[in-house]
């Protein structure tokens, strides 16, 4: 450090001591090298398609030779080439193209399954792993004999940190059509406390290529072991597929005190899809118990789910919920009452009540129904 209190110190000395100029020149060199690397990368991006086409032709030739010779076992050296991203892409594209003309091409995967699985397990980067999983999804490996070597690798992929690896691995497992492996995957993710968006999970489950009813059964068998995001996904999956075989279990869950709000709301939406007196009673109970509580969300969902149950006790409960302190409960109750086309006696009761917001909301919804009807 310079001596600050020397007389007439020469600033140049300090600057040279600090080597500022050298440092800036190094920075300039780095910036220049970034620009030069951009030029090279730009060139390679431009040539990427040509490069991919060339490598795809290579693999198509390999498949053609295999077909002619009748032997689909590939040399180790060829499999090793698949560690390169473009080679793997080209392999995938070539395989999918060859599949259209040659039904025997599946033997490439079958005869080399151990090697390809080993390749998948040895891939170092998450980017490549995610692509590997994506590639397997595209290969349509529904028969157990086709995918059994890849099941465990895909399950292992779930524990890697990347959301893309997880998502593609799950999609690969779903494409294999083995419901037990899906249940195993969900348990593994839950046990390791790994978060995956419920929205993604719910939508992904619909892509299951096997028997969806069996999948539901497996998932319900392990339901209690799952974390909340997976439970939500399972309930939504049952709703999307119209599976109401487990409604009685879910009605019992609604009575539980430690159930999460998200799960409660999902259960109500599921029960609402299937008309039954028991479902109606369960939903009504949720509304009555929660319309003025801090956990208002289930009550709001319940209020919008009671339209098919136009019994007197339900109407009364909805009218009571019009006085809820929570906007959404009042709004949904009003919408449901309007949709039920309640009698004038009920309407009059609300209008003559003390709650101005209840009256306004109900009359608004009723007038909207009239306009929509016209």
């Amino acid at each position: 450090m310079p001596k600050l209190f020397d007389k007439r110190a020469d600033i140049g000395k300090y600057m040279s001591n600090l080597n500022i100029l050298s440092m800036l020149l190094v920075y300039i060199a780095i910036a220049m090298s970034i620009i030069i690397s951009h030029i090279f990368i730009g060139y390679s991006i431009k040539n990427y398609e040509n490069n991919l086409t060339r490598k795809k032709k290579f693999w198509l030739n390999v498949f053609s030779e295999c077909k002619n010779s009748g032997t689909y076992l590939l040399k180790k050296g060829l499999i090793k080439k698949l560690k390169d991203a473009t080679m793997l892409e080209a392999f995938s594209d070539a395989y999918n193209e060859a599949r259209e003309d040659n039904s025997d091409i599946k033997r490439i995967l079958y005869d080399n399954r151990a090697q390809i699985a080993e390749l998948g397990s040895k891939l170092r980067s998450n980017t490549m792993r995610a692509f590997f999983a994506y590639m397997l999804t595209g290969f349509d490996l529904r028969k157990p004999i086709d995918h059994q070597h890849f099941d465990d690798i895909m399950l292992r992929y779930l524990s890697y940190g990347s959301v893309y690896v997880r998502e593609n691995a799950l999609l690969a497992l779903l494409s294999f059509g083995n419901e037990k492996k899906i249940a195993e995957a969900f348990i593994s993710l839950s046990e390791n406390n790994i978060y995956h968006s419920e929205k993604l999970l719910g939508d992904d489950l619909l892509k299951f290529t096997g028997d969806q009813a069996k999948l539901a059964e497996e998932l319900m068998d392990v339901f209690s072991k799952l974390n909340n995001c997976f439970k939500v996904a399972v309930i939504n999956f049952l709703r999307y597929t119209g599976n109401h075989n487990y409604d009685i279990d879910f009605r019992n869950m609604l009575d539980s005190s430690d159930i999460s709000i998200d799960i409660m709301c999902c259960i109500i939406r599921l029960l609402a899809k299937f008309y039954s007196l028991q479902n109606g009673e369960a939903i009504l109970k949720v509304l009555e118990n929660n319309y003025n509580s801090e956990n208002w969300e289930p009550a709001a969902v319940a209020a919008s789910s009671l339209v098919p149950y136009d019994f007197d006790n339900v109407v009364q409960a909805l009218i009571g919920a019009l006085n809820s302190k929570t906007w959404y409960v009042r709004a949904n109750s009003a919408k449901s009452l309007a949709a039920m086309r309640i009698s004038d006696a009920y309407i009059f009761k609300v209008i003559c009540g003390n709650d101005r917001y209840a009256m306004e909301k109900l009359t608004y919804e009723l007038s909207k129904m009239e306009v929509d009807a016209v």
Partner: protein, 468 residues
């Protein structure tokens, strides 16, 4: 005399460190931005993406005050979005032109009388709500009392909207067709994402087809071209790096996606703020960090919105004065976060850095020049050496600007040619010697015009975007 000499020496050493720190941070953030952009393309090529048909329902808020030139075109572009579930909410903020009637007539909107509105965040009274649809896409028009600011218009829309996420944008912008898709993917990637900042690009010399750019070269207007380079520096060169630390202090009001419940929890936009976008972002940081709630605010470079940039120095001056006043106002309002460990890296690093290198930069530059002059008079400076350092520093700045510009290589649906790069180099040189000093002067005087600027802001002249 010795004391004066020592003070000047101290100042000189301080400025050296000031410049070195800034140059280092620019270099690191530029490099990181470039690498990350390259990786994004590679990830996409290798199907490392969350590609779904349905994402989240989103409300798109379009505040409009006297926007009859651009509002219809903006809405028509929004209708082309490649996204399944969204609604468009136009807020006519007491326009004195025919914006409202134009929208009603063009989209066949019908008045929804007596619609109950829940005022969750403060705004001027909403007078009327009109509703309609274009295909399956709901369009709402809110007509309200003029709130004299965009914040009020945004808040009004928040009070009316139905969906859990919203986009804030301007009425003269083109939201790229795939913008919402990329924003939604970012929300799915992590839990607790409450805000997404998009990439804002300049549309002045861009032609659009179906809400996607068809051509995007540098134009003939130096001022807008310089802003193209400037935005590239800011967005690619800086904000991607800030993602690392969850410390983006600004999600631009020109394009941002927010979780409605988070914004409501902090009371919505501040109607008294000049820079309401930065104010909201800082408020969210403060709220979530103070309450130790997990959250994330990300910048997504592939989620793109194209905006009009001022093409005259006069309009540019007004814009930058307002931005700088907004900066001043927000740092003063949130001064409790400065160097406060309770706010983590934001309080200890991001805010001090921005104060030194954005807010007070004009003062430091002025002080720097005065120091050099004084040092020269006192003959305690090696003038040629200082000149060399300055030129090298400027050269570094130019190269980093070009680097950010060339990062367009990795942008989806962005175009440039070799001619653009050469032209960009020329503009970067003019930028270093003219544009940036010009901005520093504006920002310097903005300190003294704060009160005047905070009361009177007029939007720049609007033009329609080119479509093919």
């Amino acid at each position: 005399m010795n004391i004066i000499t020592n003070i000047i020496i101290f100042c000189n050493v301080f400025f050296l460190f000031y410049l070195v720190v800034y140059a280092s941070s620019l270099l690191v953030s530029n490099m990181y931005g470039s690498i990350k952009m390259y990786r994004y393309r590679k990830l996409e090529r290798l199907h490392n993406e969350l590609d779904h048909e349905f994402y989240f329902p989103i409300s798109i808020i379009v505040p409009a005050y006297n926007e009859n030139v651009t509002a219809i075109q903006t809405i028509n572009n929004l209708l082309k979005l490649d996204y399944r579930l969204f609604e468009i909410i136009v807020v006519d903020d007491g326009s004195t032109d025919n914006t409202k009637q134009l929208l009603i007539d063009t989209f066949g909107l019908k008045r929804d009388t007596d619609m109950p509105i829940r005022y969750q965040v403060p705004c001027r009274p909403i007078k009327e709500v009109y509703k309609g649809k274009s295909g399956n896409i709901p369009i709402l028009l809110i007509s309200k009392e003029n709130g004299r600011c965009k914040a009020d218009a945004n808040n009004a829309a928040i009070n009316v909207m139905s969906y859990p996420y919203f986009v804030c944008m301007d009425a003269d912008e083109v939201l790229q067709r795939d913008a919402l898709k990329y924003a939604s993917r970012a929300i799915l990637e992590e839990n607790n994402v409450i805000g997404i900042g998009g990439n804002i690009k300049i549309s002045n010399n861009v032609s659009f087809g179906d809400a996607m750019p068809v051509s995007a070269s540098l134009g003939k207007n130096f001022i807008s071209d310089m802003q193209i380079l400037e935005y590239g520096r800011a967005f690619v060169g800086s904000r991607i790096f800030q993602n690392l630390m969850n410390s983006n202090l600004i999600i631009s009001g020109g394009y941002g996606v927010f979780k409605k419940s988070a914004v409501v929890a902090v009371g919505g936009y501040d109607q008294k703020s000049i820079g309401e976008d930065m104010e909201l972002t800082m408020k969210l940081h403060e709220y979530y960090r103070k309450n130790k709630l997990p959250y994330s605010m990300k910048y997504v470079p592939d989620s793109v919105c194209w905006t009009q940039a001022p093409e005259s120095l006069k309009d540019l001056k007004k814009q930058r004065e307002r931005w700088h006043c907004g900066l001043m106002q927000n740092f003063w309002k949130y001064r409790r976060m400065l160097l406060n460990p309770k706010y983590g890296i934001i309080g200890m690093l991001t805010i001090p850095f921005m104060m030194l290198y954005e807010l007070y930069c004009p003062f430091f530059i002025l002080l720097g020049w005065l120091t050099i002059i004084a040092s020269t008079i006192l003959k305690i400076i090696n003038v040629p050496y200082v000149v060399i350092i300055s030129l090298v520093y400027v050269l570094l700045g130019i190269l980093l600007t070009i680097t950010s510009f060339i990062d367009k290589l990795y942008m989806k649906s962005d175009y440039f040619s070799a001619v653009d790069v050469i032209k960009g180099l020329g503009i970067a040189i003019i930028d270093a010697f003219f544009f940036r000093p010009f901005l520093f002067i504006i920002e310097f005087f903005a300190f003294f015009k704060y009160k005047k600027i905070s009361k009177n802001w007029v939007s720049p002249k609007r033009v329609q975007v080119k479509t093919e």
